[in-house]
């Protein structure tokens, strides 16, 4: 049996991750919890406090983190993922000593360079030069070291011409570039990076990716908070999924990414959208939905999971010899595949749908779709031989396939193609 290249690479990555796990711990987070008191009517002044001394009781408690424990080992590229508001940024801020945990402890070995909320500690009134030196010192360099690295930082950020400009005159893109350069140049033992790829242009994105590749090769310890699962899978040795202030999973990045997708797109039947239909005098779509193997309605489907299609149609008038035709389309409206069904009837005469009768078109559809967005279009035709259009829905259903196995095109098909050396010519 030949393992596919993908599998072999994955295995190799896993072996590297396992070896790192045996190495020394550099970040040890134990039982960390954090709550925020959010006053329902915020008291921002002494006057209000004096006028309403018991007002503190009106605070609403937001549990941001609940009993979080994990380790990061030397040389690991460690991902933290989660939906907005799950607590991942709070966790990073506690690790960076910006917030203090209510309970639990955080242990770290070595110098730390944080990159949080798209930046480092910039003062808009100072020039970029001054800010670079200030932040270098903040990240544990001496003043001299920070000055020595100034050129490197400005070159990397491609901001040499703007050295003496006050930071408030910088564009936000320039600011992020400078911040990222400062963080990288600080040469810290541990880097905490929050969502750097979400901003900046494509060129900067490519540069970040290069930096990540190099840092990973150099065996630096990096904690990366991100929404981008492809980054997680590409770089991380391990990743942590945080949801509703709890740790849901720590482990292989593929598994973490998959669980993250499940959280985001996994069937919450209440969110099923109204099918986009065109009202028609001949027939009406009463309902159309997708189902999983357990018979539950789903809005989105996991890659490779069983998929059941259902469409309930009511005839408004007599439809003779109807054909129900469905197309699976990509977001550009290109058809990927489709099928057409006739009524299952005993004889030719029975191939009629009378006014008011309902027909359910349902069954399993093989799910070979790659992750992405799809929609289903529908045609209903009567008088098969003449092909009179009875009903047309451009987008009967929209759904998402989520998963971690990418590829080109929209469909994954098996193949047994091999490349072998067969001698020399």
């Amino acid at each position: 049996m030949e393992a596919t290249e993908d599998k072999r690479e994955q295995l190799a990555g896993r072996r590297a991750a396992e070896r790192l796990l045996a190495g020394p711990t550099v970040i040890d987070v134990r039982g960390v919890s954090k709550r925020f008191l959010i006053p329902t009517n915020r008291m921002n002044s002494l006057r209000e406090r004096v006028a309403n001394p018991l007002g503190h009781r009106n605070a609403h408690v937001l549990q941001a983190l609940q009993d979080i424990s994990f380790n990061v080992h030397a040389g690991e590229f460690f991902g933290i993922v989660g939906r907005n508001g799950s607590g991942k940024s709070t966790l990073l801020k506690i690790m960076a000593s910006i917030y203090r945990a209510d309970t639990g402890r955080v242990l770290m070995a070595g110098r730390l360079a944080p990159f949080i909320e798209l930046g480092v500690g910039f003062n808009p009134e100072l020039t970029s030069k001054e800010n670079v030196v200030l932040n270098g010192v903040l990240m544990g360099l001496s003043r001299r070291e920070a000055r020595e690295r100034l050129d490197r930082v400005l070159d990397f950020a491609e901001l040499r011409e703007f050295t003496d400009m006050k930071l408030k005159n910088y564009s936000s893109g320039m600011m992020v570039r400078l911040a990222f350069s400062v963080m990288v140049a600080a040469d810290a033992d541990i880097m905490l990076i929050d969502e750097v790829l979400a901003v900046g242009d494509a060129a900067f994105g490519a540069k970040c990716i290069d930096v990540f590749t190099n840092l990973r090769k150099a065996g630096r310890t990096i904690v990366l908070v991100t929404h981008d699962m492809s980054t997680v899978q590409r770089f991380c040795h391990r990743a942590l999924l945080i949801h509703d202030s709890h740790i849901q999973f720590v482990g292989e990045p593929e598994e973490t990414a998959l669980r993250y997708y499940r959280l985001n797109f996994g069937g919450d039947p209440d969110t099923v959208r109204e099918p986009g239909i065109l009202p028609d005098v001949n027939a009406t779509v009463i309902d159309a939905w997708l189902q999983n193997a357990d018979g539950e309605r789903i809005q989105n489907v996991e890659q490779g999971e069983q998929l059941f299609f259902n469409c309930l149609i009511e005839a408004r008038r007599e439809l003779r010899q109807p054909v129900f035709s469905y197309q699976f389309l990509d977001p550009d409206g290109i058809e990927i595949f489709g099928f057409s069904k006739r009524l299952r009837v005993e004889s030719e005469e029975d191939d009629v749908l009378r006014s008011g009768q309902r027909v359910l078109i349902a069954g399993e559809v093989e799910n070979r779709l790659l992750p992405g967005k799809y929609h289903i279009g529908q045609w209903v035709i009567r008088n098969r031989t003449q092909g009179d259009l009875a009903l047309h829905s451009f987008s009967l259903l929209e759904f998402m396939v989520y998963g971690t196995e990418g590829g080109s095109g929209h469909i994954k098909l098996d193949n047994d193609v091999q490349a072998k050396i067969v001698g020399s010519g």
Partner: protein
Amino acid sequence: MSTLERIEDRDATPAPPHVGELREVSGPSALGGGRRRALELLYLMASFDFKRTYFGTTLGYVWTIARPLLVFGVLLVVFTKGLRLGASVAHYPQLLLFNFILFGFFQEGVGTALPSIVGAEAIVRKTQFPRLVIPIASVLTAMFNLGLNLIVVFIFIVGDGISPRWTWLLLPVLVLGTLILTIAVAMILSSLYPRFRDVGIIWTVMSTALFYATPVIYPLDRFHHTLRVVISANPMTVILVCARKWIISPSALGPAGELGGHVYLLIPAVVYVAICLLAVWIFRREAPRIAEEL
């Protein structure tokens, strides 16, 4: 690159050369991140601040010298020609200028430090910046000003025929005494300001009240004994009375003389120490949570 090579490449993640000892991260604090780092940051913040104040304006250096001169001109006209407050006081213009400059340092230091933590929001919310450095840097910037102003003050003092004497060497004691008090008040107000924004308004009123409750424009001996004791509960009073005796007119009474006994000096001493202790207590209490209040 063949698959095998690539696999080896991924395998070849080198062990990091050096791993330090695991240490507990204590969260944000007044001096978080070590004393050396805090001092370097303090120096950088204060010098950048100073540069910004003086090189950001068109006239730059000129203002540094012109400002105290202009203030002196105004004081001279108002208090010696208009109000005639110091008619019988020796070297009244010089005394007035010195008092004004030293008390002005206290006011300016506290006034700029008060919103400093809120103003440095970007830094406080994104980094483990030692919180205490921020208000102290503002006070130090004000002290740079004081230094420049004092040069001008001494030119006027010498110009009026007051000759230098050994007590001038005690000037650093006066400055240090004022500096510590300024830092203490700045610590209290700047750490409360993110939570209670009306601290700003209270300070505006308080600093004006303090200005008149301190013998800046009048000599303390104008009042009867009880009032003198009350006014001297303010530690700045004692500092200014000392300054008058040490720098301007040695024949003037010292604080013990003004109050009629050393025992009365206990009051300002206790107030001074209490303010400092309160400052340390409040700041240490507020520092860990300041980032959450912004």
